[in-house]
Amino acid sequence: MDSQPLTETHDEIVRVLRDDGTPDPAVDPGLSTEELRKLYSAMVRTRVIDERLVTLQRQGRIGFHIGSLGEEAAILGSAFALRERDWGFPCYREFGAALLRGLPLQRFIDNMFGNANDLVKGRQMPDHYTCRQARWGSISSPIGTQMSQAVGFAWAARLRKDDAVALVYFGDGSTSSNEFHVAMNFAGVFRTPTVFFCRNNGWAISVPVERQTASRTFAGKGIAYGVPGVRVDGNDVLAVIAVTRRAVERAARGEGATLIEALTYRVGGHSTSDDPNRYRDKKEVDPWLERDPIERFRRHLGRLGVWSESDEDTLRAEADRQVREAIAVAEKTAPPQLETLFEDVFADPPWHLVEQRAELLRGPRAPSAH
């Protein structure tokens, strides 16, 4: 690692967990047993929730879910590397990171149902939660828009002499958006304390990375902006932590932004609306199943002797119970009140929204079925 200063871009892929299963001590972030167990638990919990939500969608009980299957190391590791004072600007695939940062599970599940307790008042699709208290951004669907916002946020922090860093998530496909360009450019010019975390999961819905860019790597795109790039094995949670920590520290020291390319793979469909068999060969997926980030990390913990079979059983049972309980509660919670439709458009509703609210309340109700 020391041979790779974060001021240039390298092609090598940073790894901690070597093929023989042993960790590379030069890169290992050196987590305590407690931290290792916490991190692993968060990854498993994320997977358990993901599986449950896909089932719910199949049963027609929620409308949509966009999951993180296979990407848990990239998502959880990066969030784990943040300090409490730092901020995350998510894309749509990082609910696991939000939960780790403090989004209450019940609130997340409320968002999946868009009920009255949903923090965004049932206004957005599932997985478009918000949680300011967790220093976590608000999610929107348009690709890339969070990037320049993360730059502006981090820039503001620096201007206010606050050493908070903003980490922003996005996918390989998102690097083609206008937003990647302008955000990286502003971050380079103004040396904002921003960490660009690119989940290179191989696909943007049905479009493979070769169709996304002719650049040799995603990390290499940093060169165009004077922002150093680094590639990391995105299925090696310890490597992700190590690399992200260095980027966060560098940013906090006032040395500017870093672009991290985490190489991972979208094992599932793009979302519950997508059937990947339409456009990719199952054979392509198989090797990635073997590189499963959770299995890999568990083997490591097993070797270290800090995780047992019974730990695993307890964790899974507990995670499953928690999510089922949250679902039961959320499903019973009423939808948001009609009035909420007109709140928060502005700080105070102007005359036209007051009139429209009255019009809606006075009128007949919509047929309830979709």
């Binding site: 206004r123 083609s176 958006s177 943007a204 049905s206 479009v207 458009v345 429209q356 919509a366």
Partner: protein
Amino acid sequence: MPQMNMVQAINDALRVAMKKDDRIVVLGEDVGKVGGVFRVTAGLYDEFGDDRVIDTPLSEGGIVGAAIGMALYGMVPVPEIQFADFIWPAYDQIVSELAKYRYRSGGEYPCKMVIRTPVGGGIRGGHYHSQHPEAHFIHVAGLKVVCPSNPYDAKGMLLAALADPDPVLYFEPKRIYRAAKGDVPEGEYTVPLESASVAREGRDVTVIAYGAMLYEALDAAERAAQEGVDCEVIDLRTLWPVDIRAIEASVEKTGRLVVVHEAPRTCGFGAELVSLVVERVFFHLQAPPRRVTGFDTPFPYTLEMEYLPLSHRILPALLETARA
């Protein structure tokens, strides 16, 4: 004649046109191998190959900008924007370039293309998969904007748009992609742009609607009929340039107007329709015109059926207008 839904009819129109005119290329995100997230371009990649059905990088600006370049060369690009909600990264190219190209070049560079994009709510899409942004394009001089409501029109109007010399925004009401079914002739035929159709004749109130809301207007009209109010429902089909004669003729007959659209009310297309009517047939009007529209809020998720101007909200407007 085969029965088709909207998705099939649009797909069929593309296939028919592409077979005949090899200047036509389809490009966009996920339009190729997977055939579009709504499967509107399904099968075209296999039939016409990667050079004519092109999966692009994730960039609406690049899709439309490159399509403009192709059009300047003389091809007929058919860019797809995956959801109309995602068209804004291409808005500069559409407003500053596409709409003005012919004009600003003194006629030297016409820029013909058809931009296809799904619009509208009622599919549990929330803020960003539900919007109906026609007003943003109708206000821009130089663009034609269409929105068919049934498979027959969808195919015939897409073929007409592909033959038209001007840039056309072709809005596909996604809520009825599969729900609207009907007979669709094989092969080539066109439904002329700029012609509305009378979806239901009536004497008492003129109702203007388009896209998915047409069915809500028709439903409300049926229910109004049960209360003795006889509505004429106009399906605009082409939003701009609008078929002004059809509107004038109907309002001259009924003296009353209700406009329905999904988009937020303020500065929506309904305002233009109301203004045209009051400016042109003022002295025929016997009651204030009404707009039944989406509210002036972002498009919601859970309460989307309360947001949309569905039949239950149109009906009272019809009755009140008839009785005003």
